[in-house]
Structure formats: C-alpha cells, structure tokens
C-alpha cells in the first residue's frame, strides 16, 4: 500500500463537509464497526442524535454545537488507493484551523449547498486552496435532497461556480461537478437512483480514477534544507532534507546565502562565479551507513570536504543552479489576523529572519492580499519550486499570523 493521498474538504459552514466525510467512510467501510458502535452509544448516552459528521467531529463541544471546531483526518480505503480525508472548520473565525488542515493537502473537494449557494467561506476557501498551491479540485453540489433533486437548481449553481473558478484561474474545464446528497448517500460512493439525469462518476469513482498524485520534486534543481549541525568524531555533519533534485556523493555544493559575497547581491542574477565559495560532498550519512545519493524527501547528513561553518537556515545548492537570494520578498499572503506591529519574523524553509512589512498598508483578518517585505538579511528561496522554499509564514511575537507564497 502506498502513502495516502491527502484530500481537504473545503467550503462554507453547514454545507456538509463533515457529513460528506462521514458518508465516504461509512459507505466504503473505512470505519471499524466497533468504533461506529461506540460513537452511537456515546451519542445515545449524552442525549444526542447520531450524525454522520460525528465520525470526525470527536469533541463533545463539536457535537453539542453542531460544528467542526478543529481539523482532523480520517483514512479512506479505496479499492486502488488509500486517501487521507482532511476535515476543516467552515467558520470564518476558525480559519487558522482550516489552514492547518488545508496546508497538507494535495487535492481539494469543495462542498457547496445547492440550497444556500455560494457563500463567503466558499470563496475564501477557494482562494486559500489556490494560495497553498492546490491545483486539483472537485466540486460537490450537496444537499440535492433539499431541492427535490432538481437538475435546474444544480445547473444554475454550477454555472455560477464555473465563472468564479475561471476568474480565480482554476482550470475549470478539468473540474468535475457532482450532484450529491451526502446525508442520503446519493452519488457519494453509490450511484443515485433519485438523480436519473446525472449519468456520470460518483465522488468515490472520481477519486479512484481521475485524481492523480502530483509529482514530487525530483526533477527540480537540487536544494538541501539545513535543519541542524551535529558534531560526530570531530566531523561536522550537516543535518537536513533534500527538498528537490538529487544529491550525489562527490558533487559540488554551495551554502546560501552566506557563500556568496554580499557585494554581489545587488545584482542577484548576475553573480560572478569567482565570488561563490564552493565545497564538495565527501559523504552522505544515514543511521544505516553512508549512501551514494539521496533524492527529494530524504533526510540525511552531509559531510563536506572542508568545514562549512554553516548553520540552520541555509540552503545547500549546486553551483550551476543557484536559488534566488534577496532581502526583498513579495507575493500573495493570507492573513489569519492583522499584525500588532510592522516588525515581524519571516520564516522560509528553516530560515528565520526579522522582517519589516512594507505592504499592504491596510490588513483585513481572514483575507488575502499582496505583500512586500524587507528582511534584515538576505535568505535563499525558490519561487517556482512549489516546495517549502516558495512558501513563507509571518510571526508576530512567536505566533504565526500569515501564510504566503513568494513570487
């Protein structure tokens, strides 16, 4: 069995995200009978009616308030593949919990109630998904039972959504729309007999046949994220993860930003070669011994020919494929809350530097904006990579208050 595909279920509150997850788990028999029985017994003894959402809403308060308060995940067992269903809250004030869940997803299912239509969190969640780099989307038009399964209600909403998705630059031609009642079980795992006008894939069939796992970052340029330095038998071991590309014993490596002389930074793309301090990989270490090469996603230790005297926060790269280096960052950012000051901390990969917020002037909590930051010192990053080196968070007094991308 392969690692699960993480899927986040997004959308406005009460449009049926948790219910959809419950339905998927139940109809694929992904939940153990004894656990289902326990949940039902708890509901009974606390005087509550059993709901499908209770399969993921495990806190007492969630069931009492009839809302998801924090993100959770459940294993969905498909015939071909395992999935990790990520449930997130749909309330505006719980957006930080939503981001926590959504940031580890590779694909998203948007849930929209056909009765309520497009609401504020429908749009906000779509914007967040895009900012986080989620490209694959399926749209579940839910609560079809509340409109007597009428095709017209479905068509009207789908048309409105298509326009919105196009404006947001989602490739709407590839997006599938499902008429569903998660509560009744129509078109989730089983084909609905009540929706005869729809003769296409159920949500589960779509997941099994149309969702492809995004490629990992092996084909990109080599970058090594340094987490820590260990000393072992008088040797300096650089501890970290291959973020993209491939690391080979004997290859050249440059540590950034410090191995480029600062006066060359002004023209960052035109670094004269002689100003780069090169080093060479002597050994790639793991607990089981030395290896010849490491690929994207692998956590290893590096010993260089010369002591690097580098530290956490730097990036190891190949001299012919350097990342960007700059003190100025800009891109799109989502604000969990407005900062209390202009002086913030910016983290990118493992680097952590003081930052001054230059733009925007006005920040609205729970909304996206463009940003411009000036860092106290330069960092290395890789805007096009889709790895952690293209993503930042901002911290205000140690607390994450915003997440953004670098453009």
């Amino acid at each position: 069995m392969k690692q699960e595909i993480p899927i986040v279920i997004i959308g406005h509150q009460d449009h049926g995200k948790s219910t959809l997850i419950g339905r998927l788990l139940l109809d694929t028999k992904s939940i153990q009978k004894s656990r289902l029985k326990e949940i039902k017994e708890t509901d009974k003894s606390s005087g509550q009616k059993f709901e499908l959402a209770h399969l993921v809403d495990s806190f007492k308060q969630e069931r009492e308030r009839k809302m998801t308060m924090d993100t959770t995940r459940a294993l969905l067992k498909g015939k071909k593949q395992l999935y990790q269903l990520i449930d997130v809250p749909g309330h505006a004030e719980l957006i930080s919990q939503m981001l926590t869940g959504a940031s580890s997803a590779e694909v998203a299912l948007l849930v929209v109630s056909v009765k309520e239509g497009i609401r504020e969190q429908t749009l906000d969640h779509l914007e967040i998904a895009q900012l986080l780099g989620i490209e694959q989307l399926g749209v579940v038009i839910n609560q079809m039972d509340k409109v007597d399964y009428k095709k017209r209600a479905f068509d009207v909403l789908v048309n409105d959504l298509k326009k919105i998705l196009e404006n947001m630059n989602y490739k709407s031609k590839h997006i599938h729309f499902f008429p569903v009642s998660a509560w009744k079980g129509d078109n989730v795992v089983k084909k609905s007999s009540r929706i005869s006008w729809y003769d296409n894939l159920t949500v589960m069939e779509f997941l099994e046949n149309k969702f492809l796992r995004p490629k990992i970052h092996e084909s990109l340029s080599f970058h090594f994220l340094i987490q820590d330095i260990y000393e072992h038998e008088n040797e300096e071991i650089l501890i970290g993860r291959v973020e993209s590309g491939e690391l080979k014993q004997g290859q050249e490596i440059v540590f950034l930003p410090e191995n480029i002389r600062t006066r060359s930074l002004r023209s960052q793309n035109l670094v004269p070669r002689k100003l780069i301090i090169k080093n060479k990989i002597k050994a790639i270490k793991t607990a089981e011994g030395n290896i010849d090469k490491a690929v994207a996603g692998q956590n290893v230790g590096i010993i260089c020919e010369e002591k690097s005297q580098t530290k956490r926060g730097t990036i190891g790269s190949h001299p012919n494929a350097l990342p960007n280096i700059s003190k100025m960052l800009s891109g799109e950012i989502f604000w969990i809350r407005a900062p209390s000051q202009k002086q913030l901390v910016c983290e990118c990969g493992t680097s952590r530097v003081n930052a001054t917020l230059l733009k925007p002037d006005k920040i609205i909590s729970g909304k996206k904006s463009l940003y411009k930051l000036r860092l106290e010192k330069p960092i290395a990053f890789e805007p096009q990579s889709k790895t952690i080196l293209s993503k930042i968070v901002l911290k205000d007094q140690g607390h994450i208050i915003a997440v953004g991308n670098i453009q």
Binding site: M1, S103, A287, G398
Partner: protein
Amino acid sequence: MTRGEIMNSRLTELEEKSIFILREAKAKFKKPAVLWSMGKDSTVMLMLCKKAFLGNVPFPAINIDSGRDFPESYEFKEKMVKEWGINLLIAQAEHKKDAISGTAEGLNKAEALKKLLEKEKFDALIVSIRRDEHGVRAKERYVSPRDKNFRWDFENQPPEIFNYTSEFKDASHVRIHPLLHWNEVDIWEYSKANNIPVNPLYFAKNGKRYRSIGYADSTVPFKSNAKTIDEIIKELKTTDISERAGRAQDKEKEYVMQRLRELGYM
C-alpha cells in the same frame, strides 16, 4: 536483503516524515525527552530516534510506572535497557482509580509525568500517539503546547502550516507527535522490516493476545491466534474491533479520552 528492499515506499515515506519532525524538535528545543511505554509504538519511536540522530537516542526516555505492569512488560523493559542502552527515567505513578477513567491509568499517569517534567525541566516531550487510535487523538497537532497547568487547550490549538509552527513561550512543555500519521498496521510492518523487539504479550497464547498493553488490572486481551507479526498484520487487515477496545481508560463513551487529554494524559 537490504533495508531498502524490505521497506516498501509507504514505510519509507512515513519514516522520512517522522525523522524530519524529530530533527526539528531537537533543533528547536533545549531539553527534549521521549516517552516510552514499552509498547510497540513508542519502541518504534526509539528506533526512529536512532535513525534521525545517526545511531543513538540523544535524550532520555521516560517510563511511567506504578509497579502494576505485566511481568512480561518488566522483563521486556530490562532487556531493552540493556540491549539498546536506553537512558531511562522512571516517573513514579500512584496506583489508585481516578474519577474520570475509573482506572489507575488516567490521571495518575498525567500527574506522575507532570512532576518529572517539572523536576527535570524538560521543555519538549515526544509522544507516540497516532490519529487512527482515537477520534480525540486525531485532533492533535504534530507540535502541541501544554499550558502552565499542564492542560491541553484544545479549543485554541495553534496553526501548523506546512512545516511551520508557532513558538510557545507560555507553555509548560510542548508535546511532539511524530507518529500521528502512522496506522496500527504500519507500526507492525515497520517493526518487522527493522527487526524491532516487541513485548511477547502481543502474540497469541491460548487463543488470546493483547493489542494495546497497559496496567495488568485495566487491560484485557482479545480473541486471536496470531502468533507472529505476519499473522498480526493479516488479522488487523480484516478485524472489525478497534485497537484500544481492551483499554478500560479510553473508551469513547462519556468522552473519557477527551477529558483525560485535556488534563495532560497522552
């Protein structure tokens, strides 16, 4: 066969993710410790620590003990300390029933842990919980602060975005959960692929075995004929009984697990 040939790609991915989290914890905290219950999960955790830190476990392991574990568990503990050279600290727990769980395994364990963490000033505790064990554990973060009173403020959990986490200046300590994304079967497949020793109580004797091991007076075995890890894996793929059904203290019923965890239980 090399480990790479035995380990399938799923186990490799799980392992890499856990190693990254462990290394982050070591880089960010001054004095971490790892909780070791002698069970299958926390023993896998010790192995992951060895892998993350190039062969040794660079911090102490804490075992909570009230003197009422199974004899087999004590034998296993002794063997592991000797063979793996574990730097073991014991958190002495009282053995009396608490009002929430009705067993001695709930609040006493949390209390014993609190005392030891305060005394030794550990600022991070690595705990081997998994999402698939319980709905309330499934709500956890990889990096999860406990407040000055040791409590889990589950209504205000911090954001955890990509690999980024907040800093917790007001926390008594921070829980690190590197196994959150593993499943019960993964633990067994990983134990097999890496020859990790396990408590013999996990294997069937007279038609019964333990799936989750706690104190002798609050753990019951379940019907099974699985005598090897392969047989356990086969059994788990078809069973309809949940893993911790044999553990009296963390029934879903009456939200016992949630109430215990709010007060510092694992």
